[in-house]
Symmetry: C2
Subunit: 125 residues, 2 copies
């Protein structure tokens, strides 16, 4: 991505739009905890509620619906008595792992640099 | 990251906090365009303003300051007449390239899947 040559503006938006898409699907207070829990396998609504501290049923339902609309989570309804509903990550949701790992690694390094005051250390030229 | 075994809640927050840090430093309408332009090298304020369509000087200044506080951008003032100010990515800012590349790749694939209606295709078990 880093390139010192001149660049047309259109190239910049080609680079920015897909990144914004990724940021958008992750935006919302409960998206990351939901994805985090679902990486361990299918969960029912009540299980998600139990495993995500402080989430309200209303917020959990809202953010699960957004994740479903974005194709990251699949909701399956089973004809049991009472009806049971399970949530799981789709292919799109599972492939987020590379992105989340890169974000986690950078976040950890960044925090270390901020704590040791090395935030403006430059790469050697 | 994906692991089907049981998991303690503390493990989840260890995974979520650094990701949230990364999301936070990128949040804001103009952070990505600013970082995008600065990956091509140092820029003066006026150059950034010219290269980022629709940004106002006030917003550009605000988001540059936030990037500076987060240690992603370095601001250098030169004692010329008139004084000149240059902005460039720090080490932290430059190492974001891996994260942004992963986000770009995922965003492109996600858009393709959404357009072809394959958003709920699952991995084979």
């Amino acid at each position: 991505m880093i390139n010192e040559i001149d660049h047309p503006k259109s190239e910049c938006s080609n680079f920015i739009l897909p990144i914004k898409d990724t940021l958008n699907v992750l935006s919302g207070k409960w998206k990351l905890p939901i994805i985090g829990v679902l990486t361990y396998g299918k969960k029912r609504f009540k299980e998600l509620e139990r495993e995500i501290p402080h989430v309200t049923p209303r917020m959990l339902s809202k953010e699960l619906k957004e994740l479903e609309l974005n194709g990251l989570v699949k909701r399956s309804v089973f004809d049991t008595k009472p009806v049971s509903v399970e949530y799981e990550l789709t292919c799109s949701g599972k492939t987020l792992d590379k992105v989340l790992d890169a974000m986690k690694d950078w976040g950890l390094e960044h925090r270390k640099r901020q704590m040791t005051g090395q935030e403006d250390v430059r790469f050697p030229q």
